[in-house]
Structures are given as structure tokens and as C-alpha cells.
Amino acid sequence: MAWVLVRLKFVLLRAGLRTAGIQGTLGAVFALVLALAIGALAGGLFLAVRLLEGRDATDATAGGFALLFLVWSLGPVITAGAEGTLEPHRLSLFPLSARQLLPGLLLAALVGFGGVATVLILVGAIIGMAPASPLVLVTLAAAVCQLLLCAAMSRLLATAISGAARSRRWRDLALIIGPVTALALNVGLQFVSRSFQDGQVVSGRPSPVFETARAFVRFLPSGPAALAMGNAREGRTLLALISLAGAITLVVAVTALWGRTLRRVLTSAPVSGSLQSGAAPRALVPAWAPFLPRGRVGAVAAKELRLTWRDPRQRVAAFSSVFAGAIPLISLRVLSIGGGRLVLLAAVPAFLFGASACNQYGFDGPAHWTNVVVGGRSGDDILGKNIARTVVAAPLVVVVASALSLLAGDGSYFLAAIALAVAAFGITLGLGNIVSVVAPIALPDSPTNVFSSGNTGQGLAATGPAIGVLLVAAVLMVPLALPLALAGAPGARAAISLVAAAVGAGAWYLGWRSAASRLVGREPELLARLEKRD
């Protein structure tokens, strides 16, 4: 059965790439190159462990495994909407027990670019840690355990958050679990890194914080596999076997927990929101947004604002992109340098939030017929979507810029930061508008995975253009951000700020006009793309 599911994943990937067209192929090639590069780089670092000895080698492996484990666990949350997995709910009517189903789903989860990169990394770890004795078998088994543990934990968290995101009681908590953990991880790593450096500088030895951290990573779920490798390398057979048994037990336990969570999610009725039968109807346009225009533009903007919070997929996507932008800002290292220029980083959330607009019709999916059947100007829909996005982004940027000004104790860069945020948001949103029209992809509403973009390789098509927009926008931002950061005189800063804001507004306008003109007379074709079954 496991092999059947793995083959099914391959078949669906192939079919998805065929239907995703040129964007899908380009996205797949891009993602493959990226996965190979990351795998080769991180695998190369693991190879260097061979130069270390004893406890240092084991702890370095444990640290690397912990990082790999956390990336897999948080991956679906951070890259919301870009994941493509086998959807368990489609298999729920088959008479298959969890024991038959889970191994296959687990292996299928590894079929993808994350799996390719991880295998390369683990090959590096095997070579770096392998002893020249029969205990090399323990090293190999430990690497397999680490691989399976990563996949199982990733599935467990994605399923648990997807289930919780649909319930009123848990949805707020579910929203922040992933991003806050990512934030804590980032801050923690910065803290440990600084402690290590400070300790080295002061006493020539690592500080107690670093010692605690290296002990801590051994006790993470990824620890036993690293310990098994370390003990095998040191020739401690019994300890190596005990550690390996611990790693195997963890894989079985996490997989079993995933199975239970999956069953619960599949057999529970989703609770859609706070508006229940008999509730007094509310106006479509929120009372706090009377500034929205009337007519079609206002209708789309109001609908988007309502759905950004009510649709679990949109909620998670918006929240994740905002938090992904906040992570570098709250990093200890960043806060310790930069002075007033630090405030310019308020443009980062705007940049990421704008860049997440690469598939603005994706959440509409087949329901977009509602707009097509009405007719009217095509550009109005995109304009409405852009207005809703701006309504969310504007206060966010102001709050972040204000907070950073307070932290830096210097408000002189506040307006420059706002201008840079306008530039970042305008450029990314303008590019996102074009990509949204050129490469729209319907995002399925999966009960078991709010991060899903379909199980047919569509995630590749969705991720490729988004990364492309990020890169292009980053290149375009450099000539604006750099002079703004380097300009010392307030007058020069004000002039560059004006230019930045104008460039942002102009880029958005060009992107919007280009997208709108591409749509004229092609609404049925857009709808056909959005109706493609996943």
C-alpha cells in the first residue's frame, strides 16, 4: 500500500505539472535547483563534522538535526499556501486502516523538493559521522529515522493546525503557534550565537548559555538520531543501539499521534465561524471602513476584508506573511545594531505582504464566476483586492515603524521608512497583480491542510512565480533602500523618500493597468484556470 501511495503522488505530480503549463515547469525547475543547492550546501556543512571529534561532532550533528526538524515542522506554516501533499480526506472512504495508510502517506510526504534537499543533507551527515565499522548500519538507520521523523512531525502539525484553524475556540491559538515558534527559534538562535561569541571573546571558552543550548538540542525529538550517530562513531555499541531504539520509538509515536489527529479532523464537522443561524445580518462593508468606494470596487474590497479573517486559508496566509516579515525585526542581533536606520526595516513586512499577492484569484477559485457573470470592467476586481490588501498593510507598517522608532530611540527615519514601505508594497503588489492574472491557480479548501495548494504539483507553479517576484522586487528595491540608508542629511533623505514613494505608486499603477488590460475579454479564460480541479 505504501508503494501505491508513493506512486500515486508521482502520478499526481506529473499530471499537475502537465496542467500547470509553462509556469509549473519553470516553477519545478526553479524549486529543484533551489533544493539541490540547499541540500548540497547543508550536506557540505555536515561533511565538515568529520573534522570535529567526540562530543563536539555529536552536538554539531544534534544541532543540525534540530534545525532540520524545526524547518520541516514549521515549513507548512511559514510557506502557507505553497505546499502540495496527498490529501488524506480523499482516501478516507477506502477501507484502509491507519496502519496501511500512514506509512504510505508518510513516504509520499517525502516525495518533493523538501525530501530531495533533506536526503542530500542526511547523506552529508552519514558521510560526516560514519564509523569504519559495522556500526555504520546504526548511522544509516538513524539517518532514515531523522528523515521519517521530519515528515511525520510536519504532517502532524499541519493536520493539527488545519483542524484547529476551523474551530472558533482554537483558531486564534492555531494562528500563532507556528509563527511564534519560528520567532522564538530565531531569537533563541541569535541569543545562543551571541553568547557563544561573547564567551569566546571574554574567556576563550563558550559561555554557559551555549553549553546549555548544546545540551538542550540533544533532548529535542531529533536528538536520539544524532546521539545514535555519535555513539556509533565513538564505537559505543550498546548506547548507539539504545539511542537508535529511542529514535525509532519517536518516529512510531509521532506517526501514531498524526494518525489519531487525522482521524479526528476527518470525522469532525468544521465550525466555520462566529455567525450562526438566527444571527442578525451584518452589512457587507465593515462599519470601520466607510471610506471604501461604492460599486464593484468597494464590493470586492469589502468581500476581501471579510474573507481575510473568516477563511482559514486566507487567515493563515496573511498572518504567516506578516509574521515572517516580523521575525528579522525582532531578532536580537538586528535590534543591537543600526541605530535610527533600523526603522527602515518597517518596509520588510510591507514587502512580504505585497509579494504574497501573486495569486490573488487563487482563494476565489471557481466562485469567481460570480464576478464574471456580472460583467463590468475587469480592472475593478484587482483594484478592489488591492485596496483591501492596502487597508491591512497600512496600519501594520505604521505600527511597525512606530515600534522600531521607539526601540531605536530615534524618530528621524519614520517618514523615510513609510516611504520605503510604500515603494516595497507598490513594487511587489504591481508585480503580484501581473502574476495573478498570468498564472492564476485555484487553491483547494482542504479540511486536513489549510496550507495546501493542491496535491498535483500546483504548489510548484504557485511557489515559482512568488519567489520570482520576491527576487525581482528585491533587485528593484536596492537602488531605493541603499541611498535612503546611507543618506545622512535630512534634506537628502526627504528627497529620496519622495522618489521612493513615487516609484512605489508608479510601479503599482503600471502593474494594475497591465493586469487589467490582460484581463479585458479574457475573463472566461481566467475562470477556466480557476476551475481546474486539483
Partner: protein, 276 residues
């Protein structure tokens, strides 16, 4: 598709085929074709739907009903042919044509995280209707369709029947001249079906036109004054319901026209014999 010349051609055809005193048809379809790859979904149909009629489009699965209705409502671009709704060519002047038609598609996918009330308001605002008119009509439609209690409930929590009814309310909100409904009674309980029938009967009573597809011959026989049978992408019968029936039950005529299909009596002896 030759959009520029198509309406004139369609009008000439109508001038030849209709008596001088007859009102122009509400929907006029000429040479409508659609292929998906090598599969011909609609093989060049010609159809006139009389104004003010209750017109049933019936056919087996895969006959091309949904594809035809989607092309007639500007949701799917045809390979060839013209569609004129209330005197307006759908594909050369889509915005004007869309203002005159209401549509309820078969799968009826809606923005289901909006409430029923919000969805109606959304549709009204999309059509730039006056807020007061939208509010008054929405209230009335929700009352008549039995959805007033659920106006503040998200559509995702609606039953299938309620979804059909809110979809119908959205299609009727702007008082279109022609209403296209694809399988409006599919998955609908008898009570909801009666509510929908009541609204549609009242609607055609005011001179508007309803075109709907259905598998349920009994419903078509009761409701429709005109019927067309579509099979393998072609119209195989078309006329008043009485003419098409020829005094027999519509289902018998339908099965005769489209073929009875494979003999279900032979084979399948294994069915029900094991649970494996």
C-alpha cells in the same frame, strides 16, 4: 468565432424562420460549438427560446447541457456560433447581455464565507445597484425563499437546498429578463424545490423567461411549456412540451431519443455477494 458578423447572421435567420408578428425569441443560439481537445462537447446547436417561456433543456449526462448553458451565459468561450439574449449578442457585447440575464450554475460555487445577506449585497454592489433597492429586494427574496432566518449565517453552513436558493436569489436580485438555471432542483428537498418552483412560476408570469436544465423529467413536464432534448452535443428534439411528448410520458420519449443505454440486466452477478 466571428463575432462581428454573427449577430446579423442570427437576425437574418430569425427573420426567415419566425412569422412577422411573433415576438423575437428571448434566447437565440446559432451554430454553437465547443470541443475539449478531441472531444466534441457541443456539435453546433441551433435553438430559439420563446420570450416568456419556461424552457427545459434535458439530456443524459455528458450531452452538453452545462457546456451549452455556460457558453450562453458568457462563462465559457465557444469555438464557433452566436448567442443572442434579449436582443444582445452575448459574445460581442457581453456587459449589456449580462445585465439582462441571471445565472445559477450547476455546481453553484459561492463565496461561502459570506453570509446570505452579505452575498446578496455583494451581488447588488457588483452590479452597481442602489443600496436601498438591494436591501429591499434582498429582504423580500430571503423571505419568499424561506432564508430570512439564515440571512446572518455563513453560506458554508447552508444545506444544499439553501445554497441553491441563495444562488437563485442572487440570480434574481437585478430582475433579469432571462434566467439560466443549470440543474436547479439537483440535491434539493421537496420543500425547497416547491419554494423555487413558486418563485420561478411567479417570475415567468411577469413575462420573463426561464431556461433550465434538468434530469428530472417529471419536473420538466410539470413546469415547462417548451423543451429541447440534447444528446451527444446535438438537439434531437425541440418544441412545445406537448409536441415533444406526443401524448406519452416525457421520460419514455427521452429514453427513446437518447437510447436506453447498456442492458443493466446482464452481468454484475457478483454485486452484493461480498464485502471485499
Amino acid at each position: 468565432m466571428d463575432e462581428g458578423r454573427a449577430p446579423r447572421r442570427a437576425r437574418r435567420h430569425l427573420a426567415r424562420s419566425e412569422p412577422a408578428w411573433a415576438p423575437p425569441p428571448a434566447v437565440s443560439i446559432r451554430g454553437l460549438e465547443k470541443r475539449f481537445g478531441s472531444k466534441v462537447a457541443v456539435a453546433g446547436i441551433d435553438l430559439d427560446v420563446p420570450a416568456g417561456s419556461f424552457f427545459g433543456l434535458v439530456g443524459p449526462n455528458g450531452a452538453g447541457k452545462t457546456t451549452s448553458l455556460r457558453m450562453a451565459t458568457a462563462l465559457l468561450r465557444p469555438d464557433r456560433g452566436t448567442v443572442v439574449v434579449d436582443g444582445v449578442n452575448v459574445w460581442s457585447d457581453p456587459n449589456t447581455a449580462k445585465a439582462r440575464m441571471g445565472v445559477l450554475p450547476e455546481d453553484n460555487r459561492l463565496f461561502d464565507r459570506l453570509t446570505g445577506w452579505e452575498l446578496l449585497t455583494y451581488n447588488g454592489m457588483l452590479r452597481s445597484m442602489d443600496a436601498g433597492t438591494v436591501s429591499a429586494r434582498a429582504r423580500e427574496l430571503l423571505d419568499v425563499l424561506g432564508l430570512a432566518e439564515a440571512a446572518g449565517t455563513m453560506v458554508v453552513d447552508y444545506s444544499q437546498g439553501m445554497r441553491k436558493k441563495i444562488g437563485l436569489a442572487c440570480a434574481l436580485l437585478h430582475a433579469p429578463r432571462v434566467l439560466f438555471l443549470d440543474e436547479p432542483f439537483e440535491s434539493v428537498d421537496p420543500v425547497s424545490a416547491r419554494a423555487i418552483r413558486t418563485v420561478l412560476t411567479r417570475y415567468t408570469g411577469n413575462g420573463a423567461t426561464v431556461v433550465f436544465s434538468s434530469h428530472v423529467m417529471d419536473t420538466v413536464e410539470k413546469l415547462c411549456d417548451h423543451v429541447a432534448v440534447l444528446h451527444a452535443g446535438r438537439i434531437v428534439a425541440n418544441g412545445t412540451t406537448a409536441d415533444v411528448r406526443g401524448g406519452r410520458p416525457l421520460e419514455d420519449v427521452f429514453v427513446e431519443l437518447v437510447g436506453a443505454g447498456p442492458d443493466a440486466g446482464g452481468g454484475l452477478s457478483w454485486l452484493g455477494s461480498s464485502s471485499g
